[in-house]
Amino acid sequence: MNYNQPLELTGLLSHLDIFFRNNLPPFWASLVESILVLITILAAYAVIALILIYAERKITAFFQARLGPNRLGKYGSIQSIADMIKILIKEIIHINRVDRFLFYAAPFFVICSSVMAFGAIPFGKGLQAVDFNMGIVYLLTVSSLGVIGVLLAGWSSNNKYSMIGAMRSGAQFISYELSAAFALMTVVVMTGTMQLSEIVENQRYAWNIFNGHLPAIVAFVIYLISGHAETNRAPFDLPEAEGELTAGYHTEYSGMQFGFYYLAEYLNMFIIAAVATTVFLGGWMPFQLKGMDTFNQIMWYIPSYVWFIGKTAMLVFISLWVRWSFPRLRIDLLLNLEWKYLLPINLVNIIAMVVTVLAGWTLTGLFPNIFGITP
Protein backbone atom coordinates (compact mmCIF):
# COMPACT_ATOMS: atom_id res chain seq x y z
CA MET A 1 0.00 0.00 0.00
CA ASN A 2 2.79 2.38 -0.90
CA TYR A 3 1.18 5.07 -2.97
CA ASN A 4 3.11 7.18 -5.43
CA GLN A 5 3.67 10.62 -3.89
CA PRO A 6 5.45 12.77 -6.47
CA LEU A 7 5.06 16.17 -4.79
CA GLU A 8 6.00 15.29 -1.21
CA LEU A 9 9.08 16.96 0.27
CA THR A 10 10.29 13.92 2.22
CA GLY A 11 12.70 12.82 -0.52
CA LEU A 12 14.25 16.26 -0.84
CA LEU A 13 14.61 16.59 2.93
CA SER A 14 16.28 13.21 3.36
CA HIS A 15 18.69 14.02 0.49
CA LEU A 16 19.58 17.26 2.26
CA ASP A 17 20.07 15.40 5.56
CA ILE A 18 22.35 12.79 3.93
CA PHE A 19 24.32 15.56 2.20
CA PHE A 20 25.00 17.36 5.49
CA ARG A 21 25.79 14.16 7.39
CA ASN A 22 28.29 13.06 4.72
CA ASN A 23 30.11 16.38 4.52
CA LEU A 24 30.17 17.65 8.08
CA PRO A 25 31.05 16.24 11.51
CA PRO A 26 27.90 15.16 13.42
CA PHE A 27 27.80 18.16 15.75
CA TRP A 28 28.06 20.70 12.92
CA ALA A 29 25.62 18.78 10.76
CA SER A 30 22.93 18.88 13.43
CA LEU A 31 23.74 22.52 14.17
CA VAL A 32 23.37 23.51 10.52
CA GLU A 33 20.17 21.54 10.22
CA SER A 34 18.72 23.11 13.38
CA ILE A 35 19.52 26.58 12.08
CA LEU A 36 17.95 25.79 8.71
CA VAL A 37 14.80 24.49 10.42
CA LEU A 38 14.68 27.60 12.61
CA ILE A 39 15.01 29.92 9.62
CA THR A 40 12.33 27.99 7.72
CA ILE A 41 9.93 28.18 10.65
CA LEU A 42 10.49 31.90 11.15
CA ALA A 43 10.09 32.58 7.43
CA ALA A 44 6.91 30.50 7.29
CA TYR A 45 5.67 32.34 10.36
CA ALA A 46 6.13 35.73 8.71
CA VAL A 47 4.77 34.67 5.31
CA ILE A 48 1.67 33.02 6.79
CA ALA A 49 1.04 36.16 8.84
CA LEU A 50 1.22 38.33 5.70
CA ILE A 51 -1.16 36.04 3.81
CA LEU A 52 -3.56 35.92 6.75
CA ILE A 53 -3.62 39.70 7.12
CA TYR A 54 -4.36 40.12 3.41
CA ALA A 55 -7.02 37.38 3.51
CA GLU A 56 -8.66 38.84 6.57
CA ARG A 57 -8.83 42.35 5.10
CA LYS A 58 -10.25 41.05 1.85
CA ILE A 59 -12.80 38.68 3.42
CA THR A 60 -13.84 41.29 5.96
CA ALA A 61 -14.40 43.73 3.11
CA PHE A 62 -16.61 41.25 1.28
CA PHE A 63 -18.60 40.59 4.45
CA GLN A 64 -19.22 44.32 4.75
CA ALA A 65 -19.92 44.82 1.03
CA ARG A 66 -16.70 46.79 0.47
CA LEU A 67 -13.79 46.23 -1.89
CA GLY A 68 -10.93 46.03 0.59
CA PRO A 69 -7.33 46.75 -0.44
CA ASN A 70 -7.28 47.04 -4.24
CA ARG A 71 -4.59 49.55 -5.22
CA LEU A 72 -1.26 47.83 -4.69
CA GLY A 73 -0.71 44.94 -7.09
CA LYS A 74 -3.47 42.92 -8.69
CA TYR A 75 -6.48 42.95 -6.28
CA GLY A 76 -4.27 44.67 -3.70
CA SER A 77 -2.26 41.50 -3.26
CA ILE A 78 1.00 43.14 -2.13
CA GLN A 79 -0.70 45.57 0.23
CA SER A 80 0.38 43.61 3.32
CA ILE A 81 4.03 43.57 2.15
CA ALA A 82 3.91 47.35 1.91
CA ASP A 83 2.35 47.47 5.37
CA MET A 84 5.11 45.23 6.69
CA ILE A 85 7.84 47.54 5.33
CA LYS A 86 6.02 50.51 6.80
CA ILE A 87 5.74 48.98 10.27
CA LEU A 88 9.41 47.91 10.19
CA ILE A 89 10.69 51.45 9.59
CA LYS A 90 8.34 53.15 12.02
CA GLU A 91 9.79 54.91 15.03
CA ILE A 92 9.50 53.19 18.39
CA ILE A 93 8.20 55.85 20.73
CA HIS A 94 9.64 55.90 24.23
CA ILE A 95 7.07 56.32 26.96
CA ASN A 96 7.88 58.31 30.06
CA ARG A 97 7.83 56.67 33.47
CA VAL A 98 7.38 53.09 32.39
CA ASP A 99 9.29 50.09 33.62
CA ARG A 100 11.69 49.95 30.66
CA PHE A 101 12.79 46.34 31.02
CA LEU A 102 9.30 44.88 31.37
CA PHE A 103 7.84 47.18 28.72
CA TYR A 104 10.31 45.99 26.09
CA ALA A 105 10.35 42.37 27.26
CA ALA A 106 6.57 41.89 27.17
CA PRO A 107 6.09 41.51 23.37
CA PHE A 108 8.75 38.79 23.30
CA PHE A 109 6.78 36.59 25.71
CA VAL A 110 3.81 36.73 23.36
CA ILE A 111 5.77 36.15 20.17
CA CYS A 112 7.98 33.40 21.68
CA SER A 113 5.05 31.37 22.95
CA SER A 114 3.40 31.72 19.56
CA VAL A 115 6.52 30.63 17.62
CA MET A 116 7.11 27.71 20.00
CA ALA A 117 3.60 26.40 19.40
CA PHE A 118 3.93 27.03 15.67
CA GLY A 119 7.11 24.95 15.51
CA ALA A 120 5.46 21.78 16.82
CA ILE A 121 2.66 21.64 14.26
CA PRO A 122 2.86 18.85 11.65
CA PHE A 123 2.50 20.74 8.36
CA GLY A 124 2.78 17.71 6.15
CA LYS A 125 4.44 14.36 5.74
CA GLY A 126 7.91 14.80 7.24
CA LEU A 127 7.31 18.50 7.80
CA GLN A 128 7.29 18.56 11.58
CA ALA A 129 10.15 20.20 13.45
CA VAL A 130 9.69 18.48 16.82
CA ASP A 131 7.52 15.50 17.60
CA PHE A 132 7.24 15.14 21.37
CA ASN A 133 5.46 12.12 22.76
CA MET A 134 3.33 14.55 24.76
CA GLY A 135 2.68 16.83 21.77
CA ILE A 136 -0.77 18.07 22.80
CA VAL A 137 0.38 18.91 26.32
CA TYR A 138 3.34 20.75 24.81
CA LEU A 139 1.04 22.90 22.65
CA LEU A 140 -1.12 23.78 25.66
CA THR A 141 1.99 24.46 27.73
CA VAL A 142 3.71 26.91 25.44
CA SER A 143 0.52 28.74 24.53
CA SER A 144 -0.11 29.35 28.24
CA LEU A 145 3.06 31.48 28.38
CA GLY A 146 1.63 34.19 26.11
CA VAL A 147 -0.71 35.59 28.73
CA ILE A 148 2.27 36.68 30.86
CA GLY A 149 3.34 38.99 28.04
CA VAL A 150 -0.13 40.50 27.87
CA LEU A 151 -0.30 41.04 31.64
CA LEU A 152 3.15 42.63 31.73
CA ALA A 153 2.37 44.86 28.76
CA GLY A 154 -0.76 46.11 30.46
CA TRP A 155 0.97 46.82 33.71
CA SER A 156 4.24 48.29 32.44
CA SER A 157 2.50 50.70 30.05
CA ASN A 158 1.58 52.93 33.00
CA ASN A 159 -1.87 53.44 31.51
CA LYS A 160 -5.20 52.57 33.11
CA TYR A 161 -6.81 51.45 29.86
CA SER A 162 -3.95 49.05 29.23
CA MET A 163 -4.20 47.73 32.77
CA ILE A 164 -7.94 47.02 32.49
CA GLY A 165 -7.38 45.35 29.13
CA ALA A 166 -4.63 43.17 30.55
CA MET A 167 -6.70 42.09 33.55
CA ARG A 168 -9.61 41.20 31.30
CA SER A 169 -7.31 39.29 29.02
CA GLY A 170 -5.81 37.37 31.94
CA ALA A 171 -9.23 36.35 33.28
CA GLN A 172 -10.42 35.38 29.82
CA PHE A 173 -7.33 33.39 28.94
CA ILE A 174 -7.18 31.44 32.20
CA SER A 175 -10.88 30.55 31.88
CA TYR A 176 -10.90 29.44 28.27
CA GLU A 177 -7.62 27.58 28.50
CA LEU A 178 -9.45 25.01 30.64
CA SER A 179 -12.05 24.36 27.98
CA ALA A 180 -9.51 24.10 25.19
CA ALA A 181 -7.45 21.61 27.20
CA PHE A 182 -10.47 19.49 28.12
CA ALA A 183 -11.67 19.41 24.52
CA LEU A 184 -8.27 18.15 23.36
CA MET A 185 -8.14 15.63 26.22
CA THR A 186 -11.44 14.20 24.98
CA VAL A 187 -9.66 13.23 21.78
CA VAL A 188 -6.67 11.88 23.69
CA VAL A 189 -9.10 9.52 25.46
CA MET A 190 -10.16 8.24 22.05
CA THR A 191 -6.79 7.98 20.33
CA GLY A 192 -4.84 6.80 23.37
CA THR A 193 -1.81 8.91 22.41
CA MET A 194 -0.67 12.51 22.67
CA GLN A 195 1.94 12.34 19.96
CA LEU A 196 0.78 14.49 17.04
CA SER A 197 2.31 12.24 14.37
CA GLU A 198 0.52 9.20 15.81
CA ILE A 199 -2.75 11.11 16.08
CA VAL A 200 -2.50 11.98 12.38
CA GLU A 201 -1.56 8.41 11.47
CA ASN A 202 -4.54 7.02 13.40
CA GLN A 203 -6.93 9.10 11.28
CA ARG A 204 -6.00 7.39 8.02
CA TYR A 205 -9.49 6.07 7.27
CA ALA A 206 -11.68 7.94 9.74
CA TRP A 207 -11.11 11.47 10.94
CA ASN A 208 -11.40 11.79 14.69
CA ILE A 209 -14.47 13.99 14.39
CA PHE A 210 -16.28 11.13 12.58
CA ASN A 211 -14.62 8.37 14.55
CA GLY A 212 -15.89 9.67 17.87
CA HIS A 213 -19.11 11.07 16.33
CA LEU A 214 -21.25 12.81 19.00
CA PRO A 215 -18.69 13.49 21.78
CA ALA A 216 -16.03 14.36 19.21
CA ILE A 217 -18.25 16.90 17.47
CA VAL A 218 -19.11 18.52 20.81
CA ALA A 219 -15.39 18.67 21.67
CA PHE A 220 -14.61 20.15 18.26
CA VAL A 221 -17.17 22.96 18.65
CA ILE A 222 -16.00 23.70 22.19
CA TYR A 223 -12.39 23.77 21.04
CA LEU A 224 -13.20 26.24 18.28
CA ILE A 225 -15.11 28.52 20.67
CA SER A 226 -12.47 28.48 23.38
CA GLY A 227 -9.64 28.79 20.88
CA HIS A 228 -11.36 31.82 19.44
CA ALA A 229 -11.66 33.30 22.91
CA GLU A 230 -8.02 32.55 23.72
CA THR A 231 -6.82 34.54 20.72
CA ASN A 232 -8.75 37.61 21.91
CA ARG A 233 -10.67 38.01 18.68
CA ALA A 234 -14.20 39.32 18.22
CA PRO A 235 -16.76 38.50 19.62
CA PHE A 236 -14.36 37.84 22.52
CA ASP A 237 -12.13 40.89 21.97
CA LEU A 238 -12.88 42.61 25.29
CA PRO A 239 -9.20 43.06 26.17
CA GLU A 240 -8.78 45.44 23.26
CA ALA A 241 -12.33 46.73 22.92
CA GLU A 242 -11.52 49.88 20.96
CA GLY A 243 -14.73 51.69 21.94
CA GLU A 244 -14.01 51.50 25.67
CA LEU A 245 -10.28 50.91 26.09
CA THR A 246 -8.73 52.60 23.00
CA ALA A 247 -6.75 49.45 22.20
CA GLY A 248 -6.38 47.62 25.51
CA TYR A 249 -3.06 46.18 26.56
CA HIS A 250 -1.10 47.36 23.50
CA THR A 251 -2.28 50.97 23.53
CA GLU A 252 1.17 52.37 24.31
CA TYR A 253 3.14 50.23 21.89
CA SER A 254 4.32 51.55 18.55
CA GLY A 255 6.23 50.36 15.50
CA MET A 256 7.44 46.80 15.52
CA GLN A 257 6.67 46.43 19.24
CA PHE A 258 3.02 46.66 18.31
CA GLY A 259 3.78 44.57 15.24
CA PHE A 260 4.75 41.64 17.46
CA TYR A 261 1.33 41.65 19.13
CA TYR A 262 -0.35 41.96 15.77
CA LEU A 263 1.66 39.07 14.29
CA ALA A 264 1.09 36.88 17.32
CA GLU A 265 -2.66 37.49 17.21
CA TYR A 266 -2.92 36.39 13.58
CA LEU A 267 -0.62 33.43 14.03
CA ASN A 268 -2.48 32.30 17.15
CA MET A 269 -5.61 32.20 15.03
CA PHE A 270 -3.72 30.03 12.54
CA ILE A 271 -2.31 27.82 15.31
CA ILE A 272 -5.77 27.19 16.79
CA ALA A 273 -7.07 26.26 13.33
CA ALA A 274 -4.02 24.07 12.66
CA VAL A 275 -4.33 22.21 15.96
CA ALA A 276 -8.05 21.67 15.35
CA THR A 277 -7.18 20.33 11.88
CA THR A 278 -4.52 18.00 13.22
CA VAL A 279 -6.52 16.68 16.12
CA PHE A 280 -10.03 16.53 14.69
CA LEU A 281 -9.88 16.71 10.89
CA GLY A 282 -7.13 14.26 10.02
CA GLY A 283 -4.20 16.69 9.83
CA TRP A 284 -2.17 16.36 6.66
CA MET A 285 -3.52 12.89 5.91
CA PRO A 286 -5.25 12.78 2.50
CA PHE A 287 -8.84 11.59 2.40
CA GLN A 288 -8.75 7.84 1.89
CA LEU A 289 -11.15 4.93 1.68
CA LYS A 290 -10.07 1.48 2.70
CA GLY A 291 -9.64 -0.95 -0.20
CA MET A 292 -10.17 1.62 -2.97
CA ASP A 293 -6.57 1.89 -4.13
CA THR A 294 -7.21 3.93 -7.30
CA PHE A 295 -9.14 6.58 -5.40
CA ASN A 296 -6.47 6.67 -2.68
CA GLN A 297 -3.72 7.05 -5.28
CA ILE A 298 -5.51 10.05 -6.81
CA MET A 299 -5.87 11.57 -3.34
CA TRP A 300 -2.16 11.02 -2.63
CA TYR A 301 -1.24 12.93 -5.81
CA ILE A 302 -2.39 16.01 -3.91
CA PRO A 303 0.55 16.61 -1.54
CA SER A 304 -0.04 16.42 2.21
CA TYR A 305 0.83 20.07 2.92
CA VAL A 306 -1.91 21.16 0.50
CA TRP A 307 -4.42 19.06 2.41
CA PHE A 308 -3.23 20.59 5.67
CA ILE A 309 -3.32 24.18 4.43
CA GLY A 310 -6.73 23.60 2.82
CA LYS A 311 -8.36 22.28 6.00
CA THR A 312 -6.71 24.97 8.11
CA ALA A 313 -7.81 27.72 5.72
CA MET A 314 -11.39 26.50 5.98
CA LEU A 315 -11.27 26.77 9.79
CA VAL A 316 -9.66 30.22 9.59
CA PHE A 317 -12.49 31.28 7.30
CA ILE A 318 -15.04 30.03 9.87
CA SER A 319 -13.22 32.06 12.50
CA LEU A 320 -13.53 35.22 10.35
CA TRP A 321 -17.17 34.42 9.66
CA VAL A 322 -17.86 34.25 13.42
CA ARG A 323 -15.94 37.45 13.92
CA TRP A 324 -18.16 39.46 11.59
CA SER A 325 -21.42 37.79 12.58
CA PHE A 326 -21.66 38.17 16.36
CA PRO A 327 -21.57 41.30 18.53
CA ARG A 328 -19.03 41.64 21.32
CA LEU A 329 -19.92 39.95 24.61
CA ARG A 330 -19.94 41.69 27.97
CA ILE A 331 -17.29 40.51 30.44
CA ASP A 332 -19.77 38.82 32.79
CA LEU A 333 -21.51 37.06 29.88
CA LEU A 334 -18.12 35.93 28.64
CA LEU A 335 -17.14 34.38 31.95
CA ASN A 336 -20.65 32.92 32.40
CA LEU A 337 -20.38 31.19 29.04
CA GLU A 338 -17.17 29.51 30.07
CA TRP A 339 -17.78 28.58 33.70
CA LYS A 340 -21.51 27.84 33.63
CA TYR A 341 -21.92 26.28 30.19
CA LEU A 342 -18.77 25.17 28.39
CA LEU A 343 -16.93 23.66 31.36
CA PRO A 344 -19.83 21.50 32.65
CA ILE A 345 -20.66 20.38 29.10
CA ASN A 346 -17.01 19.51 28.66
CA LEU A 347 -16.83 17.44 31.84
CA VAL A 348 -19.93 15.47 30.87
CA ASN A 349 -18.60 15.12 27.35
CA ILE A 350 -15.31 13.63 28.47
CA ILE A 351 -17.22 10.97 30.43
CA ALA A 352 -19.43 10.34 27.39
CA MET A 353 -16.26 9.82 25.35
CA VAL A 354 -14.87 7.37 27.93
CA VAL A 355 -18.12 5.37 27.75
CA THR A 356 -18.06 5.47 23.95
CA VAL A 357 -14.51 4.18 23.82
CA LEU A 358 -14.99 1.50 26.48
CA ALA A 359 -18.21 0.22 24.88
CA GLY A 360 -16.53 0.21 21.46
CA TRP A 361 -19.02 2.61 19.90
CA THR A 362 -16.42 4.51 17.91
CA LEU A 363 -16.53 3.99 14.15
CA THR A 364 -13.26 2.04 14.20
CA GLY A 365 -14.70 -0.09 17.00
CA LEU A 366 -18.04 -0.71 15.26
CA PHE A 367 -16.77 -1.21 11.68
CA PRO A 368 -13.15 -2.36 11.87
CA ASN A 369 -13.31 -3.62 8.28
CA ILE A 370 -14.13 -0.19 6.85
CA PHE A 371 -12.34 2.22 9.19
CA GLY A 372 -9.73 0.19 11.09
CA ILE A 373 -6.10 1.04 10.38
CA THR A 374 -4.71 -2.49 10.41
CA PRO A 375 -5.62 -4.29 7.16
Binding site: L102, M134, I148
Partner: protein, 180 residues
Protein backbone atom coordinates in the same frame (compact mmCIF):
# COMPACT_ATOMS: atom_id res chain seq x y z
CA UNK B 1 29.48 19.28 23.26
CA UNK B 2 26.21 20.87 22.30
CA UNK B 3 24.61 19.52 25.47
CA UNK B 4 27.38 21.00 27.60
CA UNK B 5 27.05 24.43 25.99
CA UNK B 6 23.28 24.43 26.51
CA UNK B 7 23.73 23.20 30.07
CA UNK B 8 26.13 26.01 30.90
CA UNK B 9 23.82 28.61 29.37
CA UNK B 10 20.91 27.27 31.43
CA UNK B 11 23.02 26.99 34.59
CA UNK B 12 24.28 30.55 34.28
CA UNK B 13 20.73 31.77 33.61
CA UNK B 14 19.37 29.93 36.65
CA UNK B 15 22.13 31.24 38.93
CA UNK B 16 21.97 34.81 37.64
CA UNK B 17 18.20 35.16 37.73
CA UNK B 18 17.93 33.50 41.16
CA UNK B 19 20.24 36.16 42.58
CA UNK B 20 18.39 38.91 40.72
CA UNK B 21 15.04 37.60 41.98
CA UNK B 22 16.02 38.19 45.59
CA UNK B 23 18.04 41.38 45.11
CA UNK B 24 15.69 43.27 42.79
CA UNK B 25 14.12 46.32 44.40
CA UNK B 26 10.81 46.06 42.56
CA UNK B 27 8.52 43.19 43.49
CA UNK B 28 7.12 42.77 39.98
CA UNK B 29 10.59 42.38 38.53
CA UNK B 30 11.41 39.80 41.18
CA UNK B 31 8.41 37.82 39.98
CA UNK B 32 9.63 37.96 36.37
CA UNK B 33 13.16 36.88 37.33
CA UNK B 34 11.64 33.99 39.24
CA UNK B 35 9.71 33.10 36.09
CA UNK B 36 12.97 32.99 34.12
CA UNK B 37 14.48 30.68 36.75
CA UNK B 38 11.51 28.32 36.48
CA UNK B 39 11.59 28.27 32.68
CA UNK B 40 15.34 27.60 32.67
CA UNK B 41 14.79 24.71 35.09
CA UNK B 42 12.22 23.36 32.65
CA UNK B 43 14.96 23.57 30.02
CA UNK B 44 17.10 21.24 32.18
CA UNK B 45 14.29 18.69 32.21
CA UNK B 46 14.06 18.97 28.44
CA UNK B 47 17.80 18.22 28.22
CA UNK B 48 17.27 15.05 30.27
CA UNK B 49 14.61 13.92 27.74
CA UNK B 50 12.05 14.00 30.51
CA UNK B 51 9.50 15.84 28.39
CA UNK B 52 6.51 15.31 30.64
CA UNK B 53 8.19 16.98 33.62
CA UNK B 54 9.21 19.83 31.29
CA UNK B 55 5.59 20.36 30.27
CA UNK B 56 4.35 20.16 33.85
CA UNK B 57 7.03 22.59 35.05
CA UNK B 58 6.13 25.16 32.40
CA UNK B 59 2.34 24.74 32.69
CA UNK B 60 2.11 24.66 36.45
CA UNK B 61 4.84 27.10 37.44
CA UNK B 62 5.27 29.45 34.49
CA UNK B 63 1.77 29.33 33.05
CA UNK B 64 -0.22 28.86 36.25
CA UNK B 65 1.45 29.98 39.44
CA UNK B 66 3.40 32.88 37.95
CA UNK B 67 0.28 34.28 36.27
CA UNK B 68 -1.49 34.16 39.63
CA UNK B 69 1.57 35.73 41.31
CA UNK B 70 1.59 38.56 38.79
CA UNK B 71 -2.16 39.13 39.14
CA UNK B 72 -1.85 39.11 42.94
CA UNK B 73 1.02 41.61 42.76
CA UNK B 74 -1.11 43.87 40.56
CA UNK B 75 -3.70 43.96 43.33
CA UNK B 76 -1.17 45.16 45.91
CA UNK B 77 -0.53 48.80 46.66
CA UNK B 78 1.90 50.23 44.07
CA UNK B 79 3.53 47.09 42.66
CA UNK B 80 6.28 48.94 40.78
CA UNK B 81 7.51 50.99 43.68
CA UNK B 82 11.22 50.83 44.44
CA UNK B 83 11.58 49.33 47.87
CA UNK B 84 14.43 50.46 50.14
CA UNK B 85 17.07 47.90 50.77
CA UNK B 86 16.78 46.03 54.05
CA UNK B 87 19.31 46.65 56.76
CA UNK B 88 22.72 45.11 56.42
CA UNK B 89 22.30 42.72 59.31
CA UNK B 90 19.25 41.09 57.76
CA UNK B 91 21.06 40.66 54.45
CA UNK B 92 24.00 39.08 56.21
CA UNK B 93 21.89 36.69 58.29
CA UNK B 94 19.88 35.55 55.27
CA UNK B 95 23.10 35.06 53.30
CA UNK B 96 24.41 32.87 56.09
CA UNK B 97 21.17 30.88 56.17
CA UNK B 98 21.19 30.31 52.42
CA UNK B 99 24.83 29.18 52.56
CA UNK B 100 23.83 26.70 55.26
CA UNK B 101 21.05 25.41 53.04
CA UNK B 102 23.43 25.16 50.10
CA UNK B 103 25.89 23.09 52.13
CA UNK B 104 23.20 20.68 53.42
CA UNK B 105 21.62 20.22 49.96
CA UNK B 106 24.99 19.96 48.25
CA UNK B 107 26.10 17.26 50.70
CA UNK B 108 22.93 15.24 50.13
CA UNK B 109 23.20 15.56 46.35
CA UNK B 110 26.89 14.62 46.24
CA UNK B 111 26.26 11.61 48.48
CA UNK B 112 23.39 10.33 46.39
CA UNK B 113 24.29 11.38 42.86
CA UNK B 114 25.73 7.99 41.88
CA UNK B 115 22.68 6.19 43.19
CA UNK B 116 20.13 8.35 41.31
CA UNK B 117 22.21 8.20 38.19
CA UNK B 118 21.41 4.50 37.79
CA UNK B 119 17.67 5.25 38.03
CA UNK B 120 17.72 7.68 35.10
CA UNK B 121 16.83 5.74 32.00
CA UNK B 122 18.31 6.35 28.60
CA UNK B 123 15.10 6.10 26.59
CA UNK B 124 12.26 8.56 26.71
CA UNK B 125 9.50 7.78 29.17
CA UNK B 126 6.16 7.01 27.54
CA UNK B 127 3.09 9.02 28.47
CA UNK B 128 1.15 5.77 28.93
CA UNK B 129 3.62 4.61 31.62
CA UNK B 130 3.14 7.85 33.53
CA UNK B 131 -0.62 7.47 33.25
CA UNK B 132 -0.55 3.91 34.63
CA UNK B 133 1.77 4.99 37.45
CA UNK B 134 -0.56 7.84 38.42
CA UNK B 135 -3.83 5.91 38.26
CA UNK B 136 -2.89 2.37 39.30
CA UNK B 137 -3.20 0.68 42.68
CA UNK B 138 -0.31 -1.79 42.42
CA UNK B 139 3.30 -1.47 43.50
CA UNK B 140 4.95 1.81 42.42
CA UNK B 141 1.53 3.15 41.44
CA UNK B 142 0.08 6.19 43.09
CA UNK B 143 -3.71 6.41 42.87
CA UNK B 144 -4.19 7.08 46.59
CA UNK B 145 -1.79 10.06 46.87
CA UNK B 146 -3.15 11.39 43.59
CA UNK B 147 -6.71 11.38 44.92
CA UNK B 148 -5.59 12.74 48.30
CA UNK B 149 -3.97 15.71 46.57
CA UNK B 150 -7.08 16.36 44.50
CA UNK B 151 -9.17 16.35 47.71
CA UNK B 152 -6.72 18.82 49.25
CA UNK B 153 -7.01 21.09 46.20
CA UNK B 154 -10.80 20.88 46.36
CA UNK B 155 -10.69 21.94 50.01
CA UNK B 156 -8.39 24.85 49.04
CA UNK B 157 -10.78 25.99 46.31
CA UNK B 158 -13.80 25.88 48.63
CA UNK B 159 -11.85 27.72 51.30
CA UNK B 160 -10.80 30.41 48.82
CA UNK B 161 -14.38 30.88 47.68
CA UNK B 162 -15.54 31.16 51.30
CA UNK B 163 -12.95 33.87 52.00
CA UNK B 164 -13.60 35.76 48.76
CA UNK B 165 -17.40 35.63 49.01
CA UNK B 166 -19.07 38.66 50.50
CA UNK B 167 -21.67 38.06 53.18
CA UNK B 168 -25.14 38.48 51.67
CA UNK B 169 -26.50 40.46 54.63
CA UNK B 170 -23.59 42.91 54.69
CA UNK B 171 -23.96 43.56 50.98
CA UNK B 172 -27.68 44.25 51.24
CA UNK B 173 -27.17 46.76 54.08
CA UNK B 174 -24.54 48.50 51.98
CA UNK B 175 -27.02 48.85 49.16
CA UNK B 176 -29.59 50.28 51.56
CA UNK B 177 -27.08 52.88 52.67
CA UNK B 178 -26.47 53.81 49.06
CA UNK B 179 -30.20 54.10 48.43
CA UNK B 180 -30.57 56.57 51.26
Amino acid sequence: MAEQIIFFILAVAIALFSVLAVTSKRIIRSAIYLLFVLVATAGLFLMLHYHFLFAVQVTVYAGGIMVLFIMAIFLTHRPGEIVDRRTNRKVKSSMLLSFGGLIVCGYIIVQNVTRTYSYVKEYEMKMQDIGYAMLGTGKYQFLLPFEAISLLLLACIIGAIMIARKEKSVESTDNKDLDK
